[in-house]
């Protein structure tokens, strides 16, 4: 990810250099041919576009500046509250988290009771839902402040999600399911999708549809799909709950190793002690969710 940020910096500075060159060009040429004006206009647009891009993807320096820290936080939740409106008109509070943070590259097992708000928390972190109040910062970007369209793009580019029931699309092959994740971020890379499937042991089952794969294989496809966009943050919602014991270890190992290899932060929700025991950091939701405490 650091490398990615550096590339963004290059682009950011490249953009500034471009703007500088453009200004020089303007001084130099403003007495010359009129047609240069249209070219300059195009350059200005390019520069503005790059600036907008940069605004969406803050550089490492910017993140450190915003967070006031030299340690990069991958995930930071502050005063996050979320409640649902009940059919009877009442309000059901689900989340009230004063603070929760996960540094870049760390792997956290999040445990909690059923109905304790684990899935809601993941939805809030991924931007699928928005909190009623508070900050949800991923690499310094408060996604709760982004408009929906920007949130969708942010999720596509920076967050990988592994669901309990895999959520593969039955109409498409394993390869297409992985490519699907890339398509929405606009970075479909067939070779990389194949490489990912190969890494999860499905190199010879690229053309198989979900119905033709075992449960364990389906979950491996969903892991590959979650990694497809080289995310900064991986969210896994009970990823081993639907697979047998033999596959549990394989899936977990696969998730942890691939996240390690790619410096991806992992937040894994589970209610299985056997799974959570394998993590160095285990967080009980009720410990930092005040709703959970009161419940």
């Amino acid at each position: 990810m650091t490398r990615g940020c550096r590339q963004e910096d290059d682009r950011f500075f490249g953009c500034r250099v471009g703007a500088e060159r453009h200004r020089n060009g303007f001084r130099k040429d403003h007495h010359s041919k009129n047609e240069m004006a249209s070219e300059r206009l195009v350059r200005v647009e390019v520069v503005c576009k790059d600036v907008r891009e940069t605004a969406r993807r803050p550089s490492l320096e910017e993140i450190f500046h915003r967070t006031g820290s030299t340690k990069l936080m991958s995930l930071l939740l502050k005063n996050v509250k979320k409640s649902y409106r009940e059919p009877g008109g009442g309000v059901l509070p689900v989340l009230d988290i004063p603070e929760f943070e996960v540094p870049q590259g760390e792997q956290v097992a999040l445990i909690g009771e059923s109905g304790g708000g684990k899935t809601t928390l993941l939805n809030v972190i991924s931007g699928i839902s928005t909190p009623d109040s508070g900050e949800v910062k991923i690499q310094g970007t408060d996604i709760s402040q982004l408009v929906e369209q920007a949130r969708d793009r942010f999720r596509a580019e920076r967050i990988g999600i592994v669901f309990q029931t895999f959520h593969l699309l039955p109409a498409f092959s394993a390869l297409d399911n992985v490519l699907l994740g890339m398509t929405f971020s606009g970075k479909a890379n067939r070779a990389y999708a194949k490489e990912l499937l190969d890494r999860v042991g499905l190199g010879k089952r690229l053309g198989h549809r979900p119905a033709q794969l075992s449960v364990g294989e389906q979950q491996r496809v969903s892991v590959a799909r979650a990694l497809a966009n080289k995310p900064a943050l991986m969210l896994a919602d009970e990823p081993t709950a639907s697979v047998d014991l033999a596959n549990q270890d394989t899936i977990l190992k696969l998730l942890r190793e691939t996240c390690n290899e790619n410096d991806v932060t992992l937040v894994l929700v589970t209610h299985s002690p056997a799974v959570s025991e394998q993590f160095e950091r285990i967080e009980k939701l009720s410990d930092f969710n005040k709703v959970g405490v009161s419940a």
Partner: protein, 452 residues
């Protein structure tokens, strides 16, 4: 992978529903294509076939349409006849390049193809502008010679040298004893000529029952030209004396004379006369108009512009029927559009999770909206293209049957410019019918749908 392949994959997943829905569109479109091709064929046939002749002159009785239908399209009987003398007068008029006598009403014994008694000149006139008859064989030379259309040759298995008899169509249908010999076979023309049999008019006149009693003809000619019967008798004195002699012959003596001499001009009559004027198109139009005006003043005959008559028929009757068919097929397509709507809309409840997964993977609301619209468009497009192919296939299969029954020569590959409109119209329809399901996809609650 792109939006298109995702939409296609979703349709493939629901292949039965997609196929049935697409099929309903295809059937509607194919029917429309069939109507359009038939429309093109009928229009071409009606507009072009008579356009080689500047004027058709027929008896005063009956309508112009009836005369044109019997003379050129051979789908109606002749109402009455014109004296041969009148034909000779017209042929001798200035500016007349061709005056071609035509006698219709009889049929071949085999196949019931219409017989046209005419002169060899008939084959010198373009059957449609710029298209000349191509005849295999010698053509009409002798009295008992015949030229047959391509369809007659194909259906009856006739060729040069074949012989046939004719059925006299009248109050008492009977077979003429005389044999005609095929001396020419026409190349296909795509006009009613293909299913016609042309015999030499001299032979036609010499057939039994093709000449009426001379006394009747004298009366008719006197009335037609506004002369006294005595004047007519004086004009044909020699012929009448000869005819009187025949009246007193025994049947055996009559049989001996039969076929041996030309028929008296008095006894000859023609169903109609095809006229081609000399000069350029403007001169021809002027002459046609003058003839029409001149003839409308008297009670002798009528001069008809065949193109105008067929245009009127096309507009007033055939055109309306075709329009009704087009509306009907349009309605069928609209109904299939509703089918697409129902199919996609019903599938939306099952697909909310699928939509939610895509949204969770980063698809925007606009993306899933476009995806559903694209599915609707794909269904319409695939249905439409299949329908166009199916429609032409349908016409291809039906063409020989229609040809056999009606004589309409249909080109299955005939292209109607309206076909170009079908696909864009279908795409607009797809946008309309896909809008509501797409809106449902757009407003899907991702968190809720993922939990369901």
């Amino acid at each position: 992978m792109n939006l298109f392949s995702i939409a296609y994959g979703s349709l493939r997943q629901r292949w039965l529903s997609s196929t049935l829905t697409g099929l309903s569109v295809a059937l509607g479109v194919s029917l429309m294509i069939a109507v359009l091709v038939l429309n093109s064929t009928v229009t071409r046939l009606f507009r072009q076939t008579g356009s080689g002749y500047d004027i058709v002159v027929g008896p005063h009785q009956g309508s112009g349409l009836q005369i044109v239908l019997s003379t050129i399209y051979r789908v109606d009987r002749a109402v009455n006849t014109l004296p041969w003398r009148f034909y000779e007068e017209l042929a001798a008029r200035p500016n007349v390049q061709y005056a071609i006598p035509v006698n219709v009403g009889d049929q071949t014994e085999v196949g019931n193809f219409p017989i046209v008694g005419t002169t060899p000149q008939y084959f010198l006139v373009d059957y449609v502008p710029g298209q000349k008859f191509r005849v295999k064989g010698n053509g009409l030379r002798g009295t008992w010679d015949a030229v047959i259309g391509s369809e007659v040759a194909r259906r009856n298995g006739w060729d040069v040298g074949s012989q046939f008899k004719m059925i006299h169509s009248g109050q008492d249908d009977h077979v003429h004893d005389e044999l005609f010999t095929v001396q020419g076979v026409l190349a296909p023309t795509g006009t009613p000529n293909d299913r016609s049999v042309f015999v030499h008019i001299d032979g036609f006149f010499q057939l039994d029952d093709h000449s009426r009693p001379w006394q009747e003809m004298v009366t008719r000619e006197a009335i037609f030209f506004g002369e006294s019967e005595a004047d007519v008798i004086t004009r044909y004195q020699e012929d009448i004396e000869e005819l009187r002699k025949h009246e007193n012959e025994t049947p055996e003596e009559h049989a001996h004379h039969h076929h041996h001499g030309p028929v008296s001009t008095l006894l000859k009559s023609v169903s109609s006369i095809l006229i081609v004027f000399e000069g350029n198109e403007i001169q021809k139009s002027g002459l046609a108009l003058k003839w029409q005006t001149d003839f409308s003043d008297g009670n002798q005959a009528q001069a008809i512009n065949p193109v105008r008559v067929m245009d009127q028929l096309l507009r007033n009757l055939v055109g309306n029927i075709q329009l009704a068919f087009l509306y009907l097929t349009g309605l069928i397509i609209a109904v299939s559009g509703i089918g697409i709507f129902v199919s996609i809309y019903n599938s939306m409840s099952d697909r909310k999770r699928e939509i939610a997964i895509m949204r969770a993977l980063g698809a925007r609301r606009g993306t899933v909206f476009s995806l559903i619209l694209l599915e609707s468009m794909l269904l319409c497009l695939l249905g439409g293209i299949s329908g166009i192919l199916l429609g032409h296939g349908l016409v291809f299969v039906a063409a020989p049957i229609i040809e056999a029954r009606s004589g309409l020569l249909i080109d299955p590959l005939a292209f109607n410019s309206l076909e170009l409109v079908i696909v864009p119209v279908l795409l607009v329809m797809a946008t309309f019918v896909g809008f509501l399901p797409a809106r449902t996809a757009y407003s899907t609650d991702v968190a809720e749908a993922l939990q369901s």
